[in-house]
Amino acid sequence: MAMDLKEIEKFIKEAMPDASIEIQDLAGDGNHYSATVTSSQFAGKSKIEQHKMVYNSLKGRMGNELHALAIKTKEQ
């Protein structure tokens, strides 16, 4: 169970085309990532809603194929 960095980026980009995304493979094992997502779509939303938008873009992979993804969201 692992997910490629490019794949994660692709899913987020699909859901939030305007987003700028920085992803790091924290442990080099394809299983622990951190993502910083900056998007205008976050405007006016709570942190919980913002993180949910990122989780939703991964279409159920979070917590399954993707074990750990630390998320930081920023409004543009």
Binding site: K47, I48, H51, K52, Y55, G60, M62, G63, A68, A70, I71, K72
Partner: protein, 110 residues
Amino acid sequence: MDDKTKNIIQNHIDTNDVCLFMKGTPDAPQCGFSMAVSNMLKILEVNFKSVNVLEDQSIREGIKIFSDWPTIPQLYVKKEFVGGCDIVKEMYESGELKKVFSDKGINFKK
């Protein structure tokens, strides 16, 4: 999620002002993210109830549906979902977490 699981989760949240669903226990956390949140609460000397989701598979899966949140840990304060590890950490660092405790009348180390 069946009603029994939902009731157990609801009961934990209703009867504990600060309730942390985590992997392992505060003394023996089984995941770095759970440990991080548990340690932040310990540093703030907050009295909290921890629920070890590894002890019950139905709660482990149920809490994700209950909160509509795919990961664990999950922190509830006064019945309100505050967030997972990333959000709680950000709030801890910005001082916002203390504000939440203060606003909700939870005792913590000032």
